[in-house]
Amino acid sequence: MDGSISVSGDARQLITDLIIDYAHAIDDDRLESWADFFTDDCSYRIINRENHDKGRVVGIMDCSSKGMLQDRILALREANVFEPHTYRHIVSGTRIVGQDGDVFSVETSFLVVRIMQEGDMAIFCTGKYIDEVAVTGGTARFRSRLVVCDSNRIDTLIVIPI
């Protein structure tokens, strides 16, 4: 599928809201709600474009269950050592490119600026979300979210999800 498909206004609005709300939740440091944006059976993977294009499977974050999403946030809060920082997500160009029953295939461009505690700001990551979004009973949730980073390089570390 190369382009957008025709989708009812309701579903489109639910999907767009999900994508926007997700970005705000991360940028506002409401990370404990991160897993709630996903269905119970879900996956989340960050992978670079080169690996994705070559069909390689290992990402730089790879959660194959909701529990693993929660564990990532627990590790961030309780275990991992890093310099405090926040993100600002700019998401744009959401398009719905496929539908299978209640599940929509959605693509969205993103740009993430990382703001360090001393004030340094830099473009941290750009890329594309490739999502499977389940829309049921008036709610939309990610069944899978694949974060494809344009660059192979990650500066220093990635602890806050994208």
Binding site: R56, V58, D62, D71, A79, R153, I154, D155, L157
Partner: protein, 413 residues
């Protein structure tokens, strides 16, 4: 070599157990390292032979900060060639990887075969008998610079040195044995990525060799008993200390009051995983090794953390930056389930790894912490001042001292 290194840095007393902070920032020392270490008597890892499987396949990478081409020539042999046209010094291969029958410089169309021999020079005889190269210009004397290379267990190494011993001899039997164990079954590449760090490359390589920090900095590792200093394990060092292996054996954790009394920040009460499958692996090796971090001098790492296997190469990018390249792999024998476990465990490593992310950050903090104290030195004296291997226990910095022994040997300081 015009520079007298001893004019650049004065090494503190105490052998290899005190490190002058100046060498993490000084641009002159960085330049000397490129010559004396990366173009010196070492074997540099440059890539996986499988990634250049067919004649004509090539990749571009670096030895130190010198760009090189790693390729398979038309006879099927692996070659490593400095990526610099003999004419004007232009990069000959621009792409990160590709396939080619010959090496052609785009600038003036000088053409080389896949062994770096100069085959033709555009307008070499001039145009209408005007111009052209001098009559005494010999193509055979003006090829690209080809390096000595060896392939072992699918790993390609190259060297600028005529003096260095053959690869396996240079590594020594113990180092080769671990490479065989981790890599020898063959490698199936699962992914690659890069972690770019704001610190001198040596700070990262010290971290790799630092068995003391592993279960202190990395709470995740200690809490889930992936690696504790109280586990049975030890340090292997090659003769002279240049290469190292730090290992631990599973199910041997002794009672150790320093962990159990929760004196360490790294051991947390009540920290449980919602999905503990991340830390459930299988016993992959008969020897029971649950963790083995191996480094070959100066900047290559072979990693086994549970069932997570990876290669790492730390490339210097100027005095205060470095780039860590990762190759994450499985084996051709892996079942689908084992492959899934490896993918799951990859959450421990790399720039987003719950363990390895922390190795990415401490180097930059040291770089900042030492900025204006160039005349001071750091202390590397856990476990003594020498470079004797440690059969029992890893509460030691002996592997780091081994790195500095290699450094002093190469640099002549």
């Amino acid at each position: 070599m015009a520079t007298d290194i001893k004019n650049l840095v004065t090494w503190p007393d105490d052998g290899v157990s005190r490190i002058p902070i100046q060498i993490y920032t000084d641009p002159d020392i960085y330049t000397e390292e490129q010559q004396r270490i990366f173009r010196g008597p070492i074997w540099s890892f440059v890539g996986m032979a499988d990634e250049i499987a067919k004649p004509g396949d090539y990749q571009t990478t670096y030895i130190g900060d010198t760009p090189v081409i790693v390729l398979r020539d038309l006879e099927g042999d692996v070659q490593v060639i400095v990526n610099r046209c003999a004419h004007r010094g232009n990069l000959v291969c621009i792409a990160k990887e590709g396939h080619t029958e010959e090496l052609t410089c785009v600038y003036h169309n000088w053409r080389y075969d896949l062994q770096g021999n100069l085959k033709s020079v555009a307008f070499g005889k001039g145009v209408g008998k005007q111009g052209g190269m001098p009559d005494d210009f010999k193509r055979e004397d003006n090829g690209m610079q080809r390096l000595k290379c060896e392939v072992y267990a699918g790993l390609v190494f190259a060297t600028f040195s005529d003096e260095v011993a053959p690869l396996t001899e240079w590594l020594g039997a113990e180092m080769v044995e671990n490479i065989d164990r981790v890599v020898g079954r063959g490698m199936v590449l699962l992914g690659t990525y890069s972690q770019y760090m704001p610190n001198n490359w040596k700070l990262y390589m010290e971290n790799v060799r630092d068995s003391y920090h592993a279960s202190i900095l990395h709470m995740f590792q200690a809490t889930f008993r992936i690696n504790r200093l109280s586990m049975k394990g030890g340090i292997k060092l090659s003769d002279g200390g240049w290469h190292h292996i730090s290992y631990s054996i599973a199910e041997t954790d002794k009672e150790e009051s320093e962990y159990d009394s929760k004196k360490l920040r790294a051991v947390k009460d009540g920290y449980t995983l919602a999905d503990p499958s991340l830390v459930k692996g299988w016993r992959e090796f008969d020897c029971g090794t649950t963790l083995a971090i191996q480094s070959t001098y100066p900047n290559f790492v072979v990693q086994q953390i549970s069932n997570s296997l990876a290669l790492r190469l730390c490339l210097p990018k100027g005095p205060e930056e470095c780039e860590l390249l990762w190759w994450v792999f499985g084996t051709p024998e892996d079942t689908e389930e084992q492959r899934e476990i490896r993918i799951k465990q990859s959450n421990m490593i790399g720039p987003g790894g719950v363990i390895s992310m922390e190795d990415g950050v401490v180097g930059g903090w040291i770089q900042r912490g030492t900025k204006r104290d160039q005349d001071k030195s750091t202390i590397v004296q856990m476990g003594g001042r020498d470079i004797a291997p440690s059969a029992e226990g890893r509460a030691t910095e002996v592997s780091i001292r081994g790195f500095w022994q290699g450094y002093r040997d190469c640099m002549g300081v």
